[in-house]
């Protein structure tokens, strides 16, 4: 079978999450890439090089700018006439688009897959990752989103796929893009970082969050994450949230500082290779998953740690 993999892009570049989706797609069979956007020739060229991609479909038009689901979904659904599977990364972009495509195709989506067992059997986490379900889809076409931490990233180089324009559809006039308030950061992206330093409610204020977490992250070349409580309290922006309903990460090292370890938080980081926890409560549940724990006051420990590294 051939899978159509949705290519996420930003400023003319293919986003990392797509590379894991390509790998998942290749477990189903041949992979074609689907690029939609405004003036996306450069993205199509980049997609054509991704190892494992044998053809790129491009839908280009001003109404496809910013990937508005109302405009992209009908184009993707139409392209699906020739494919057995639609595969997208389980990012906010993929989660926004794929179910809309699935409904247009009258297909029940398989969300956030961890593995491809065969062309209709997949595993996926449910209940905040406290259970792993093996499901078989009876739909003739599959619509799938892919958990990025569960699949290797395909190489950005290696293929020279053909590029084919497809009908770009028209503007539904249902929605329009107004603005993007991007949280600018020089640090690595959370979902692809090797090291993550994450802060929780215990940091107490945005000032203290930055004063303690940032220097440690800078020393380690790490990305910065946060618990929901820290985001709700305004210590960190929304896109720092790690967890069941935030970002799923699996770095080499995850350092949880002043985070209790609620199941919703663990859901987002418990597949990290090494977990370090700093918490003043030795009974905190985070210690049940931590490889290295240090019990004590973070306001003493973190500055000392930053200095000694």
């Amino acid at each position: 079978m051939t899978a159509l993999v949705y290519v996420e892009h930003e400023n003319g570049e293919v986003r990392d999450a797509t590379l894991a989706a390509v790998t998942a797609g290749s477990k189903l069979g041949e992979v074609h890439a689907f690029v939609a956007g405004n003036n996306v020739a450069a993205v199509a060229d980049a997609a054509a090089k991704i190892a494992g991609v044998s053809k790129v479909l491009v839908a280009d038009g001003p109404h496809l700018d910013h990937g508005l689901a109302e405009n992209v979904a009908p184009v993707a659904a139409a392209a699906m006439a020739n494919y057995a599977a639609f595969v997208a990364a389980s990012t906010t972009t993929g989660r926004n688009l794929a179910p809309r495509v699935a409904a247009l195709l009258d297909v029940m989506q398989i969300s956030d897959i961890l593995s491809v067992e065969d062309d209709s059997i997949f595993t996926r986490p449910i209940y905040a990752g406290n259970a792993i379900a093996t499901v078989r889809s009876s739909d003739s076409k599959k619509v799938i989103t892919v958990r990025g931490t569960a699949f290797e990233k395909a190489s950005r180089e290696g293929a020279s796929a053909s590029i084919e324009p497809v009908d770009a559809g028209s503007d539904s006039a249902l929605s329009s893009f107004v603005a993007m308030d991007a949280s600018e950061s020089e640090r690595p992206e959370l979902t692809s970082a090797k090291i993550i330093v994450s802060g929780g409610r215990a940091l107490g204020s945005a000032e203290q969050f930055h004063a303690l977490i940032d220097p440690l992250a800078d020393k380690l070349g790490a990305a910065v994450g946060a618990s929901r409580a820290a985001v709700d309290a305004g210590y960190a922006p929304n896109d720092y949230q790690v967890g069941q309903t935030g970002k799923i990460v699996a770095p080499e090292i995850y350092i949880a500082i002043g985070i209790s370890g609620a199941i919703q938080h663990l859901a987002g980081m418990k597949d990290s290779r090494v977990i370090v926890a700093i918490n003043k409560d030795e009974e905190a549940p985070i210690f049940q998953v931590a490889d290295i724990g240090l019990v004590g006051d973070l306001f003493k420990i973190v500055p000392e740690l930053t200095e000694k590294l």
């Binding site: 689901a69 109302e70 979904a73 906010t92 972009t93 926004n96 794929a98 179910p99 809309r100 409904a103 247009l104 297909v107 029940m108 989506q109 969300s111 059997i121 209940y127 905040a128 406290n130 259970a131 792993i132 379900a133 093996t134 499901v135 078989r136 889809s137 539904s172 006039a173 249902l174 929605s175 893009f177 107004v178 603005a179 993007m180 308030d181 991007a182 090291i195 020393k219 380690l220 929304n238 896109d239 069941q244 309903t245 090292i253 199941i263 919703q264 418990k270 977990i275 370090v276 030795e282 210690f287 049940q288 998953v289 931590a290 490889d291 290295i292 724990g293 240090l294 000694k308 590294l309």
Partner: protein, 253 residues
């Protein structure tokens, strides 16, 4: 404008789910059940729209077993005006898939003609994050997913959305589907007098059959297993020891 909200009865978020020994699913016997937290946020948002004079009537809908009435009563106690339970057979219970839920909600929307439908972004049991987007597709409406702010003016809504790179703002024509994220609002608790009052608010019961929606599952669950368990590691006694460990791991030179 009428506002529809979709509320699902799920395991309470404070309960740690346990996988059944026979691998057939998660054990929900004698487990505390509550309204899906994102749906509480949806109900709250609808109430605020009504308080601002934008919404005129709030209709809460749940698809599930008879017990889902409790969830609907909670929404009525918070401030919804009436409720619809689309009752499912006991063997299906709350296992109706997002696509079928979306089809049922689309049918109800065609009867009720709401100006807005608010759902949670995700049910914390199946973690699907699909229903709102599917519903919008079936109705041919715009979708404002993962909303952290919803502003209504001149027949349009401006929705601020929590996305991976920050906050995106989109403008949608009405009618529209909105799905809630955590920072949209803080849901109120129902007061005792309002809980009493909710008992006499209308709650209609329907079935999928009568609405003409086939709820046969498309995904068959073959097995449910526990994820691999992590072992708790060692505690270190000082920052120096921690630095030593990090050096052994090659994190720092």
């Amino acid at each position: 404008m009428k506002v529809l909200v979709a509320v699902k009865r799920v395991i309470d978020f404070n309960v740690k789910p346990r996988v059944k020994m026979d691998g057939s699913g998660v054990d929900l016997a004698n487990v505390k059940m509550s309204m899906n937290p994102f749906d509480e946020i949806a109900v709250e948002e609808a109430i605020r729209l009504k308080e601002r004079g934008v919404a005129t009537e709030i209709v809460a809908v749940s698809i599930g077993p008879q017990k889902a009435q409790e969830t609907l009563r909670t929404s009525l106690a918070m401030g919804a005006d009436r409720a619809i339970l689309v009752q499912t057979p006991d063997d299906i219970g709350s296992e109706v898939e997002p696509l079928a839920v979306a089809k049922i909600l689309a049918k109800i929307a065609s009867e009720e003609q709401p100006g807005m439908i608010i759902l949670g972004k995700q049910a914390i049991d199946d973690d699907s994050n699909q229903t709102g987007q599917m519903l919008a597709a079936l109705l041919g409406w715009p979708q404002g997913t993962f909303a952290s702010k919803v502003e209504h003016a001149d027949g349009q809504v401006t929705v601020t959305r929590e996305v991976d790179g920050g906050l995106e703002t989109d403008r949608l024509k009405l009618p529209a589907v909105i799905t809630t994220d955590l920072r949209l609002n803080e849901p109120r608790y129902a007061s005792l007098p309002n809980i009493m009052k909710a008992k006499s608010k209308p709650l209609a019961t329907r079935t999928a059959d009568e609405l003409g929606v086939d709820i046969t599952r498309r995904l068959e669950t073959l097995k449910v297993a526990e994820p691999p368990k992590r072992q708790a590691g060692d505690k270190v006694g000082s920052v120096d020891e921690l630095v030593g460990k990090l050096k052994t791991l090659g994190v720092v030179q």
